[in-house]
Assembly symmetry: C2
Homo-oligomer: 499 residues x 2
């Protein structure tokens, strides 16, 4: 069984995530729900992003409507250019993504964004047939990926579910500049839902129709791209880089990325470094990461410089983040479309269409990848145990409290007392069902870092057994010190070993 399958099985077994509306046969593919532990991990990943990225960089975080009018996507280019290329089987009528079909059949890289005719030529050249029925495939055509809805009663309006959360940021930019006294460079961030009519949603969270993004757009004056206040903080930090013409990943100092002209300037190097640091803090080792330079053929239509942030997983290098130098494309487009002056005005009254550096993080893929990198199967004696070694700050529960025996009321009562006390500070669980070993196992596989067992000595000695998820070790600690110890381990001030 692959690690991907391990994760999906764990997710279904413990309800981390599972198909939405799964009790119904007509539930469409590409929609997922998160159960209590999954929703908690997801929320905590957002919290880390907010604290370590958005707030540390003093970005403005907004929260906008997901539904937007047609004009927004005329200006952004999505209605014209946000397409997949498809081919239909003339025999069984099944529809396939042409670029995927070609890539899978030839095992070669297929560029994105080519004209439909070019994909048709490839299909003919390799004599590709329908993978389902071996039927003949049609010429390739474009298919727009936007999801439309209609609102209003008298005057009906065609609206769209946004395909990327960042469009809210662009339509908000000018208001932020005016009312929030913005000084460039300044980021605007948003976490929210986006929707894409995927031709073949697949691999659970990895390709969904409805999904979540944590996006930030840093607005800056292109003439001052090298003026980054805290650049010194990252200049010696090594960023994992795979150049377009390179064969292997190199760890390159942020300052060298600029001096060797690998990136457009300090601002780009700074945010690549900060992004990598964010993912290290989520428990992913730098050696499993890379920023892959995206060639001109594959870049999105609005980008001058693109680095896909990828993490190594059991399903290959998985793209978690699109890092795009969007230039002035978006603000210019919305100025033209809205016929409004959206320019930034500086202290001297100079007007400027700012450039934009984008860090568009796929939250669901990040969630999946964090699970995979924390997932371990370990033999311990005769038993195999499954452990999610999540960093405590993204664990769904911090502590779980057990009475040693569930049929002894005095133990249950004492354990509940301790649980109620801890619950007021930390996300905690109480569990009295099954053997202690089973209870530990249940907590290990959802990533709860610490378990507390209350036994007959606890009342007498005022202590309990504290067990560590990652090592499986146990120590006897005083009940009066529990709150403080958990806080210190959570905050990284102490480790379990040194308690």
């Amino acid at each position: 069984m692959s690690k991907y399958e391990d994760i999906v099985n764990l997710a279904l077994r413990r309800s981390l995530f599972y198909p939405a509306s799964e009790i119904y046969n007509d539930a469409p593919a590409g929609f997922y729900d998160f159960g209590p532990y999954g929703a908690a991990i997801r929320r905590k990943i957002i919290d880390v992003w907010r604290r370590e990225f958005v707030q540390k960089e003093s970005m403005l975080e907004i929260y906008g409507a997901q539904t937007m009018p047609e004009s927004v996507f005329n200006s952004s280019g999505h209605l014209k250019d946000f397409n997949d290329v498809i081919t239909t089987c003339k025999k069984c009528n099944s529809i396939h993504r042409a670029d995927q079909l070609i890539a899978e059949a030839t095992k070669e890289h297929v560029a994105e964004g080519m004209l439909p005719e070019a994909y048709t030529d490839e299909i003919k050249k390799h004599r590709l047939k329908c993978p389902k029925c071996k039927g003949e495939l049609s010429d390739v055509k474009k298919m727009n990926m936007m999801i439309q809805a209609v609102v209003g009663i008298g005057e009906k309006k065609s609206v769209y579910m946004r395909p990327e959360a960042c469009q809210t940021i662009f339509t908000n930019f000018s208001r932020m500049a005016k009312t929030m006294r913005m000084k460039l460079p300044k980021g605007i961030a948003q976490v929210g839902r986006a929707f894409r009519n995927e031709i073949s949603p697949r691999q659970t969270l990895l390709r969904q129709v409805e999904f979540s993004q944590m996006e930030s757009e840093v607005f800056f004056d292109p003439a001052r791209i090298n003026e980054v206040e805290n650049f010194d903080d990252v200049k010696s930090y090594k960023v994992m880089i795979l150049k377009d013409d390179g064969k292997k990943v190199e760890a390159i100092k942020a300052s060298d990325l600029v001096s060797k002209k690998i990136v457009s300037g300090n601002l780009v190097a700074y945010y690549l470094a900060r992004t990598q640091q964010l993912f290290e803090s989520l428990g992913i080792p730098a050696k499993a990461m890379r920023f892959r330079e995206v060639s001109n053929d594959d870049k999105p239509f609005y980008s001058k410089e693109t680095w896909d942030f990828e993490v190594e997983t059991s399903v290959g290098w998985l793209e978690l983040i699109a890092n795009n130098y969007r230039t002035d494309y978006d603000i210019k487009g919305h100025m033209k479309g809205s016929k409004q002056d959206l320019r930034y005005v500086d202290d001297q009254g100079n007007k400027l269409v700012p450039h934009v550096w984008e860090t568009s993080i796929g939250l669901d893929r990040t969630f999946y990848t964090v699970l995979e990198h924390s997932f371990k199967k370990e033999k311990r004696g005769k038993e195999e145990r499954t452990v999610l070694s999540l960093p405590p700050k993204i664990a769904p529960l911090l502590v779980s409290v057990f009475p040693l025996l569930s049929n002894k009321p005095e133990l249950v009562e004492h354990a509940k007392e301790i649980y109620n006390d801890l619950k007021s500070c930390y996300e905690s669980a109480f569990d009295a069902a099954g053997s202690i070993g089973k209870r530990y196992a249940r907590m290990d596989e959802i990533g709860c870092p610490w378990c507390i067992t209350v036994d007959f000595d606890s009342a007498k000695n005022k202590d309990v057994t504290l067990r560590d998820r990652d090592s499986g070790e146990q120590k006897r600690v005083k009940i009066a010190e529990l709150r403080q110890l958990i806080f210190e381990m959570y905050a990284g001030i102490k480790t379990f070993k040194k308690l």
Copy 2:
């Protein structure tokens, strides 16, 4: 200017909330974005709900897709019964909500959920005309409020944006029961988006097409409705009740609600009390609240007992929460529709379709109401100041740091040092623009509870001026004690007066 207008003006001026896609003429009505301060307040209201309600009651919090298949809403009854009643002007073609039109014209209460013919009769009886052009009005007909979208490429599927977040909870119930080892009574909660095709979206956040709900559904055995573990905690707490046949609000002890048969049982009384407590903790006084018993004529089609939680505002008593005793309506409906056995199985193997108590909180209306109840205009000397006296736990910023003069580099640098230190613990701002009075005023009107001013004595004496938002008073405090003082005031351990 009404308080409502004051709030909307403040919201636009400081970007708390504002129309979505406002730079475009074709932006539909009924969609709003939240700027940085607004988004922060909104998020913190959610945090309070999660901590004080969801987690205190050990509910399971899920996060699900907003898009759901047709079958879900066949089972829930929404496709058939989730309608508004409309009448069209035969002259100008404008469309009106019949019940609102009648209520506004007659100043009388108009029951919801009557047959269209009954509304037509009312229009004829009162000889009502189109409010826009005085034209003749058509017979009343039903209009479904669901918003539809189409996903999929080959096999296109009609899906709907959920009109209430709770349907995700019902479709998840059986999975939660099985995989989360649920013991009744148990709540499942969710905060998320919902969508309704409102005929006349209006009053900004108060009637939107896309909006947010904080919903919880407590599943219980109706034979054990009185078995509520922590009922004693609330039994003497007085709940503000307006009975269907009553003229004025009475403060009634939770235990009396049960003994006097005003509610169906302890579980209902318990959650009414806990809901009121939640809103007190958001800074709204109990005397401005009421649970209004909803008559049989006005109740939703699925409810056995309904209490609308309303708060007094400048636009009248505003419904923030629907509290519904939904019985087994939802689970039964989804069992029938999905042909699956969704019953709960207890420890003895008995199968049961649980009953449901719903607390469905409108997040946007709560947000608006919290703003209105914290909003004050005060004369102070010659100046009028605007203050948002938000409880610190929902304030968008906790502390703002100012150098006394912005043209003195040593002051600016010293203030930045203090800011950077506080920023690592608390949501903080740095402001060096304009007079100190203006900077205080800017912080007052977005609800920042404490401001710190760094002056020439600060470096020498190692102290700063700490100013309190609500009293406007100032004290000199040591820099080394700032972190701790702010924490203590935030946590309610100390007040500014007693520093």
